[in-house]
Point group: C2
Chain length 192, copies 2
DNA sequence: TTTCAACGATAACAAATGTTATCAGTTTCA
DNA sequence: TGAAACTGATAACATTTGTTATCGTTGAAA
């Protein structure tokens, strides 16, 4: 098997059973793409045409609020998917932009590939369901955290679940992810 | 067809094609349940064993934060589903409680019914996928609103998308839904 | 190598939001 | 029907968070 497809095969196999034949056919539709640091692979206002699976690197999903300021919605790590799923599936303009925080290697899945997978793969619909459920759970947790936790608590959770993030992402983007100002995050960190 | 099943049939048919035979079999597993105002049909800490489809009435999904205060996560309206999907599917204790805000009639779907539907119905997995996707989109929008909107803006959105809510829900629960104190909401409304 | 932009800390001040307490009108229910 | 709980407004005050500006350091690019 193409070594570049090892990670995604592992992830998909964790959701459904997929035979070698099916995988060979399915994975042949994957495209490898190298993204340079700071490059934008989805721009707000355009339809999201792809789902990205991150082999190596780090993506940032953000949008621009009413005051023209960027808000970081999500940091997408290795071995996870990144996309604007709503824009992608409904083929409507996206509210989000996606930018590489580092030189990043992604596998690109087109809408045809995803929709085709629902029909072609024995467990295609199930894969779609389980992925949607998992990301639904993730969002559920995120909402609950926004309801119940203080910015400092969310900061501490982030550092404990993803300690290396500070070597990979500037602090003011973490502030925007936590939905607080960079000044305030600096205050929290330096405990004044 | 059982008149009580008309609403849910309409909703499910909007997601997938389902034959009359399949529907007859599937809907025979539905149970009708009447809930009295203030009754709790899911308690935090217990495993959520059901998905509720609301025929008539209004449910409130809430949890208790670290300070022991209730936070209203969601108001579930007629013709929508209410559950703790994560607790339900993973069979783990729930973080949420579900309470009736009015005398409410729900249709009860068990885990066996849902899982059985994935296999039994021609488009069962697809139904599960589309529902998960839709609720995923809903959560996505909710997160974005929490990032970008002021409490007043969220309040105005709520009133325009659901004008009658104030006749059905006390104001302090709306405040907890907006994640602000009841005092603050009162101030916003009375524009001081 | 030099220069400029990016980054993070800090201070001073402003705005948003929470907390506590009180009070009056309603609803509930024993 | 009457007491108690519930509800929402309001005031006073405290806390959190944002805004703007400055400054020194660092990193990137010409």
């Amino acid at each position: 098997m193409n070594a570049q497809f090892k990670n995604i095969h592992k992830v998909i196999s964790s959701y459904i059973e997929i035979s070698d034949e099916e995988w060979a056919h399915y994975s042949s539709m994957l495209q490898v793409k190298e993204i340079k640091k700071k490059d934008i692979i989805l721009s707000e206002g355009s339809v999201c045409k792809e789902v990205f699976f991150i082999n190596k690197g780090l993506l940032r999903i953000f949008f621009v609020d009413n005051n023209g300021e960027e808000k970081t919605f999500h940091f997408a790590l290795e071995k996870t998917f990144a996309t604007d799923y709503k824009s992608f599936l409904k083929e409507i303009p996206s509210n989000y932009s996606i930018q590489a925080m580092e030189d990043t290697q992604v596998l690109v899945m087109s809408l045809d590939m995803i929709l085709g997978g629902y029909k072609m793969l024995t467990n295609g619909e199930k894969l779609g369901r389980l992925l949607a459920e998992d990301y639904f759970f993730m969002f559920n947790d995120k909402i609950q955290a926004m309801y119940t936790q203080t910015p400092l608590e969310r900061y501490n959770d982030l550092t404990s679940s993803f300690p290396k993030i500070f070597q990979r992402v500037p602090q003011h983007l973490i502030a925007s992810y936590l939905n607080i100002s960079s000044v305030h995050l600096s205050r929290l960190i330096n405990a004044s």
